[in-house]
């Protein structure tokens, strides 16, 4: 048999391929994405833009809103930083040490992903209430955990931990053990090796984890409201204020707070991403 090829150009959106089904799958995916995500989000933007910049500013400077945003972002940041510290230790212990129950411990890290937030909320509230197992310990010293901003902090630590552990773990696993050995042969102590050779390449991953934990914490609702106490100006988080506004049928106010939250989150995440990109370049760890 002979094969002959003899020498009508065309340009299309998708690179031509022998595989079928691009049109239908792409079409369905885009339609579904638009209906479920893009159009509803556009409704939020449209509603908020109806208020104008002045209208949003009025909402943003309302003292109760300022206090709620302050609580939400401040506590979230504090919880994310706490998780950076403990999360890094947990990731280190899980990847570097072998001890009985390690796999079980590894699996429990994902509990906050799997446990419904309302369940976590009532459990944490019960546990840290003055009558609860842990709350009672602190009640003796007259320290209140639940129904205060500390309660919010506890819930946000719970919700954010896996983000840090799960972003640091793979990086730690892929870290070449030879660089540690090289450091040791050059006369560094273990402490020097860990702080100067091991930790720097982990920083970008820790930052990513912190960013994710922070973003999740800012928006968190279910696990917080049961333990927070929800006192305006004191322990009221921004998402709760949105719900309150909605219950008063103040759609405009709710939309404005939502947009402000999204905007602040976006700016902070952008800053974290830039910092992370900068550190990655500085530390040469792409």
């Amino acid at each position: 048999m002979s094969i002959a090829a003899i020498g009508v150009p065309g340009r299309s959106f998708v690179r031509p391929s022998a595989l079928p089904g691009f049109g239908i799958t792409f079409g369905f995916a885009i339609t579904y994405l638009s209906l479920i995500v893009l159009i509803p989000l556009a409704a939020l933007v449209w509603r908020a833009s109806g208020l104008g910049f002045g209208g949003i500013w009025r909402v943003a400077t309302d003292p109760r809103v300022v206090a709620a945003l302050d609580t939400s972002f401040g506590t979230s940041a504090l919880a994310a930083l706490t998780n950076a510290f403990f999360g890094a230790i947990v990731a280190w212990v899980l990847t570097r040490y072998r001890f009985p129950g390690r796999r079980l411990l590894d699996a429990t890290v994902d509990l906050p992903f799997a446990l419904p937030t309302a369940v976590a909320g009532i459990a944490l509230a019960t546990l840290y209430a003055p009558t609860g197992w842990i709350g009672a310990l602190f009640a003796r010293w007259d320290i209140k955990l639940a129904y205060t901003p500390t309660g919010i902090f506890i819930a946000l630590v719970f919700i954010g931990l896996p983000f840090v552990v799960r972003t640091v773990q793979p990086v730690l696993q892929d870290l070449d053990r030879e660089i540690e050995e090289a450091s040791a042969t050059l006369g560094a102590s273990r402490w020097q090796t860990v702080t100067r050779v091991v930790l720097p390449p982990l920083v970008p991953a820790i930052l990513t984890g912190v960013g994710l934990a922070f973003a999740r914490a800012v928006g968190e609702y279910g696990s917080v409201i049961f333990i927070a106490g929800n006192m305006p100006f004191r322990s009221e988080i921004a998402p709760l204020l949105i719900v309150t506004r909605l219950e008063d049928f103040d759609y405009a106010g709710a939309s404005a707070i939502a947009v402000i939250m999204l905007a602040i989150s976006f700016v902070i995440l952008l800053a974290i991403n830039l910092l992370q990109a900068f550190l990655q370049r500085r530390l040469g760890h792409a």
Binding site: I3, A4, A5
Partner: protein, 321 residues
């Protein structure tokens, strides 16, 4: 058996995928014998494609992989289960993998995977067998064995076979005809003898046979190489040329009119032979030749050499001698 030979990025694999229908041509037609296959879908072309990475279905056993092309046929043309079983056994026998039918691809060696891929492609009784770098991912010894085995298989089954390679030894040894591709263009197609002895273009002359390109000039029947002059081949027209010198072209002589003097710039002993690097003049690329070990050469020594074949191509263009 046709080999598509060329450096990487020359369009060999693209051409193979075009034949298979995995890429669509922007222009032109594709003919299988006299039938226009340009608009046939991949499945309708009935080609047997052996992918470079083998593309075995990792979740299917060896037998399931081989039977796949038969099982996916529409009910009308699908062979019975017993027939499929028989065919699979036959193919396993052909590729010498009896007893491995239940293995998963991940449990096979590279050479075994290659043969499963081949059996799978042959199962559909293809009109043409297409092989993309069939030995690319294998180590040297397995490569040599499989090469010989594939040639025998081809002689036995007589499939029209098209294979892509960047290894000229492989192409020249295995194929009946070789097509040389360069930057998406066909440079030459012909038997290995044609390609080696009568390169059609300067690219082919430079690409096959470890040739070295040396700038040269022809004036009034005299060939100038660097600062040396020898008679040009009879009938050679004047101009600037690229002279392609293969190791086998260089013959050591005791001096004559046509002799060039060459300086030994390096000597290496490789097994029974001695390889000498010769310079025909200041600033010219060196030519490496092979000599029997008894030639005791020293670095810096001068030799008289003659070119058995003079291959000249107008600088940088496609032209004959």
């Amino acid at each position: 058996m046709l080999a598509l030979l060329g450096p990487s990025g020359s369009g060999k694999t693209t051409l193979l995928r075009l034949v298979a229908g995995l890429e669509a041509p922007t222009a032109g037609r594709l003919l299988f014998d006299d039938e226009d296959a340009t608009h046939l879908s991949v499945g309708e072309r009935r080609v047997g494609f052996v992918f470079q990475s083998y593309a075995l279905f990792r979740h299917q056993s060896v037998a399931e992989n081989i039977a796949y092309g038969l099982r996916v046929r529409p009910r009308r043309t699908r062979p019975s289960n017993a027939e499929i079983k028989r065919r699979v056994a036959e193919l396993l026998d052909l590729v010498q993998l009896n007893g491995l039918d239940r293995r998963r691809p991940s449990e096979l060696s590279g050479g075994q995977r290659q043969r499963v891929a081949l059996a799978r492609a042959l199962a559909v009784e293809p009109r043409v067998l297409l092989l993309d770098e069939p030995f690319g991912a294998l180590d040297a010894q397995v490569r040599r064995d499989l090469r010989r085995w594939l040639r025998e298989l081809h002689d036995r089954t007589g499939h029209t076979t098209l294979f892509v390679t960047h290894d000229q030894d492989e192409a020249l040894e295995l194929a009946d005809r070789v097509a040389i591709l360069h930057r998406g263009r066909l440079e030459q197609i012909g038997t290995p003898d044609d390609i080696l002895d009568r390169p059609a273009t300067s690219f082919v002359a430079g690409f096959v046979g470890e040739a070295v390109r040396i700038p040269a000039e022809v004036r009034e029947g005299v060939l100038r190489i660097g600062a040396q002059y020898v008679p040009a081949p009879a009938g050679q027209r004047a101009g600037n040329f690229d002279l392609f010198v293969r190791p086998s072209d260089v013959v050591v002589t005791d001096g004559s009119d046509e002799a060039l003097s060459a300086k030994v710039v390096g000597v290496r002993r490789t097994g029974p032979a001695r390889r000498a690097e010769l310079s025909l003049g200041e600033g010219l690329p060196t030519v490496e030749i092979q000599l029997p070990a008894r030639h005791a050469l020293r670095k810096g020594e001068s030799l008289q050499v003659r070119l058995a074949t003079v291959r000249l191509f107008a600088s940088g263009t496609r032209a004959g001698r």
